[in-house]
């Protein structure tokens, strides 16, 4: 099987090409650094499907050069050098050929067959440019092919040429001026039998950090040949462009070229305006959350427009002697009109409402028809379906949230926001680049944490990794919604506003945490902000839909695997005594109750420990279950609600008699504490040391525990502010003094 590696600059359409070739559905965004890990797939020529006829294609993270600047760039260089692909397809963006060919000249120095694929052929034609591939091919000494990955043009031709090229071994070629020094350096590597000697030689002369680490002896020997280091590296970059620029002038016919990106610049004049820019961004964020979560669209209900009892629904079901209206409140409720997200949430429903509810109720009717014993109905309906249905009901809403964010990412807007926020972020202690992984955290912490590889310093990565869970992810949105409903039921506080405030709290905690870390353990000069701003383009609808569907599928799979298993275990432990006797609804003595009672006192300072009384263990169990997956908080509450004989979370609150302050503290703790197993595993993979990993876990637990206590105390016993506020003030002063002291030390050292 022929092995092909796709390499190229960030945002040159490599992943789109990869998807088109392999039929994969990897995520495509319009900002540099979407792909941070390599992934592989297989291409088959038409009519050939056998495994040995396939061509293996590896998509590498986009890089601007083969001298790595960020961790994900090392992946690409090492793959080409150490994994020995049969051929490298260097994907270049045809609309910015000159810049893209800079790395091409570096790849060509390696001993590997290369094909240059000029992508975005359509956009090139559209902008009136004409590229002479023959002239390029002659000058570079490798095949040059025009393709359009997006419109799937020229792909078969590309793969044909790639397969042929793979059979012809190639020696590295340099376009730098003939230099004795390079020759000498090359011989040093050759004498050590290191492959791609020319490439290594040039890198060593440039004083490349990675080269110094990986081929230490050869590197040292070469450093003794020449001591210019920095200046030499400058001279080499200049020489590369001295080769590329005239070549592009010859090969590109610009006579009919349109102004390259005037339209994007006009849009930018508004979207990144000094005053309107941030306002527009805040408004966009607000509207996204409003359209996704609000049950009172445009606040018509709050403004006094009467909605009566809400939409009554179009079906009435009578099951087990109870009347159900699964689609009540579908379009509007007593509170107001549903937003698009809320509409889909009601449509999907839970175990009594919506489409999921119809299925669950049908199942219950079936069990009743069969005269099933009580415990069987309890197990299926209250135990399994209740928890899983609660999680499934939120899937469409989360998909809509994803859709909004994907549109922003795909359009090219996110890179602008990162630039706009850079100055502000810099004051806090990170660069604007950190904004992208942070905002990804609103979707899911796992990809967000992996994306921190695009950050250039270790400390910046650590800071960002630690605050990512504070950006409320989709799974947390689920339990926030049921907590908001319980708070609304208790003190009539608007659920939409409550949810928004909780999201805001997460952001504020993240900001404070970044500042504190930057002043104490993670002190450094903030890394520079250098980012390409891509031209705006309309989101690719097909890619967008595939991406959203993938996300939805991920949540549905989770619901039927880890959540389902957790729910069954929880139901089982909550329904049987240690002597394996089944206990009915609302009675005590279960195994889970005994375990829960042991944990319960931990949460006493947060108001839902011993105060919650004999049924309070349910809250402790839900919290612990949340460490597995945050959807489990919702699923466990629904399941245990069934076991305890109440309808929902508000019912549990009433049964346990905990105060509203404790309910909010429950929310705050679960929101900020150690996230799910998946993100803990990702953290482990992304942190360099064990110590840093455990410190992060302790940091998450400590922050959530302390803030949970503060929330409870402040809401329930306002007078405690007279103690806590001065304590916080002392902390702030101590931080400022420490920072001054350290700054002085650092200045003295410099």
């Amino acid at each position: 099987m022929v092995k092909v590696a796709l390499a190229g600059n960030p945002n040159c359409g490599k992943t789109t090409l990869y998807n088109s070739l392999t039929g994969a559905t990897a995520y495509v965004g319009n900002w540099p650094g979407v792909t941070v890990e390599k992934r592989s797939g297989t291409y088959y020529f038409k009519g050939k499907h056998k495994k040995e006829e396939g061509i293996e294609i590896v998509d590498l993270p986009g890089i601007y050069s083969l001298s790595p600047f960020t961790p994900e760039e090392i992946v690409s260089r090492n793959h080409i050098l150490n994994e020995h692909p049969d051929v490298v397809v260097n994907v270049v963006d045809g609309t910015n050929l000159e810049r893209n060919l800079y790395m091409t000249t570096q790849i060509l120095e390696m001993d590997v067959p290369v094909v240059v694929a000029i992508n975005m052929a359509d956009a090139v034609e559209h902008s009136g440019l004409r590229i002479d591939t023959k002239a390029l091919s002659e000058a570079l000494g490798v095949p040059v092919v025009l393709v359009s990955a997006l419109h799937r043009k020229g792909l078969e031709n590309l793969m044909q040429i790639t397969a042929e090229t793979a059979q012809k071994p190639r020696k590295g070629v340099s376009f730098l001026e003939k230099d004795e020094l390079i020759e000498k350096a090359r011989k040093i590597y050759e004498s050590r039998e290191i492959g791609s000697a020319l490439f290594h030689a040039v890198k060593a002369l440039e004083g490349d950090e990675l080269e110094a680490k990986e081929n230490h002896d050869a590197f040292q020997e070469i450093q003794n040949l020449d001591k210019r280091g920095k200046d030499y590296s400058k001279a080499i970059s200049t020489e590369r462009y001295q080769f590329i620029t005239p070549l592009c002038e010859k090969a590109i016919d610009e006579s009919e070229a349109q102004a390259a990106f005037s339209r994007s610049d006009k849009v930018d004049r508004v979207l990144t305006h000094r005053v309107f820019g941030p306002i527009i961004f805040a408004a966009i964020l607000f509207l996204i959350f409003h359209f996704t979560f609000s049950a009172d669209l445009f606040y018509l209900g709050a403004m006094g427009v009467p909605f009566g009892e809400g939409y009554p629904g179009f079906i009435v079901m009578n099951i087990g002697g109870e009347e159900y209206r699964p689609f009540a409140g579908l379009f509007y409720s007593a509170d107001g009109i549903n937003s698009i997200g809320e509409f889909f949430h009601v449509l999907a429903g839970d175990n009594e409402t919506g489409i999921v509810g119809c299925i669950c109720l049908g199942f219950k009717q079936l069990l009743l028809n069969w005269n099933s014993p009580e415990w069987v109905i309890s197990m299926f309906y209250d135990g399994i379906l209740n928890g899983v249905a609660a999680v499934l009901g939120f899937v469409p809403q989360i998909m809509i949230l994803y859709a909004f964010f994907s549109i922003l990412e795909d359009s090219g807007y996110m890179a602008r926001v990162a630039f706009m926020l850079d100055r502000l972020f810099r004051k806090l202690g990170v660069s604007g680049r950190a904004f992208i992984p942070m905002i990804m955290g609103f979707g899911c912490a796992v990809p967000a944490m992996i994306n921190t590889r695009t950050l250039s310093s270790d400390k910046e990565r650590t800071k960002t990794l630690r605050v990512i869970p504070f950006f409320t992810c989709g799974a947390k949105a689920e339990f926030l919604a049921i907590i908001a409903a319980a708070v609304a039921a208790a003190i009539n506080f608007d659920a939409g506003v409550f949810t928004f405030l909780m999201y805001l709290l997460g952001i504020v905690v993240a900001i404070v945490a970044v500042v504190v870390m930057s002043k104490t353990t993670q002190r450094e000069k903030v890394p520079p902000f250098i980012m390409e701003l891509p031209s705006y383009h309309r989101p690719q609808i097909r890619a967008l839909l595939i991406h959203i569907w993938d996300k939805g599928k991920h949540f549905i799979q989770k619901a039927f695997t880890i959540i389902l298993v957790s729910t069954i275990i929880i139901w089982f432990l909550a329904s049987f005594t240690p002597r394996w006797e089944f206990i009915g609804e609302g009675t005590s003595g279960s195994i889970l109750e005994m375990i829960g009672c042991l944990i319960q006192p931990i949460f006493t300072p947060l108001g839902f420990g011993v105060q919650a009384g004999p049924s309070g263990w349910a809250l402790s169990v839900a919290t612990i279950q949340g460490l597995v997956a945050k959807e489990n908080v919702t699923a466990t509450i629904e399941t245990l609600g069934g076991v305890l004989g109440v309808a929902d979370f508000a019912g549990i609150v009433k049964l346990t008699g905990i105060s509203t302050g404790a309910v909010v503290a429950f929310g705050v703790f679960n929101l900020l504490t150690i996230p799910c197993f998946a993100s803990v595993a990702t953290l482990k993979a992304e942190t360099s040391s064990k110590k840093s990993f455990w410190l992060t876990i302790a940091f998450w637990f400590g922050t959530s525990y302390v803030l949970g206590i503060l929330t409870f105390l402040t809401l329930e016993y306002v007078w405690t502010l007279s103690i806590t506020l001065p304590l916080i003030a002392v902390g702030v002063v101590a931080l400022i003094l420490y920072d001054r002291h350290k700054t002085k030390q650092e200045q003295a050292a410099a």
Binding site: Y64, E98, S233, K234, S237, D268, G432, F529, I530, E532
Partner: protein
């Protein structure tokens, strides 16, 4: 003059890139090298957005300050 003080929408030529080596190499791979012509599209409190070759590049204030250009 430094890039952060240079006029907008005027063809400029880079004469010097003064920053630490690692950043300078990264800038070079993005097209910021001595002798290259660029144009400033936007300035925000010292940060700049540049047209370089056929791309658009955003740089923070400190990096912008280290790039010297002539009109």
């Amino acid at each position: 003059m430094s890039l952060s003080l240079a006029p907008k929408q005027t063809p400029l030529r880079i004469v010097r890139v003064q920053t630490d080596e690692r950043i300078a190499k990264h800038l070079a791979s993005l097209g910021i090298v001595e002798g290259e012509s660029v144009e400033i599209v936007q300035v925000r409190a010292g940060s700049t957005v540049l047209k370089v070759k056929r791309g658009r590049l955003a740089l923070d204030a400190a990096v912008s300050k280290g790039i010297e250009v002539v009109a």
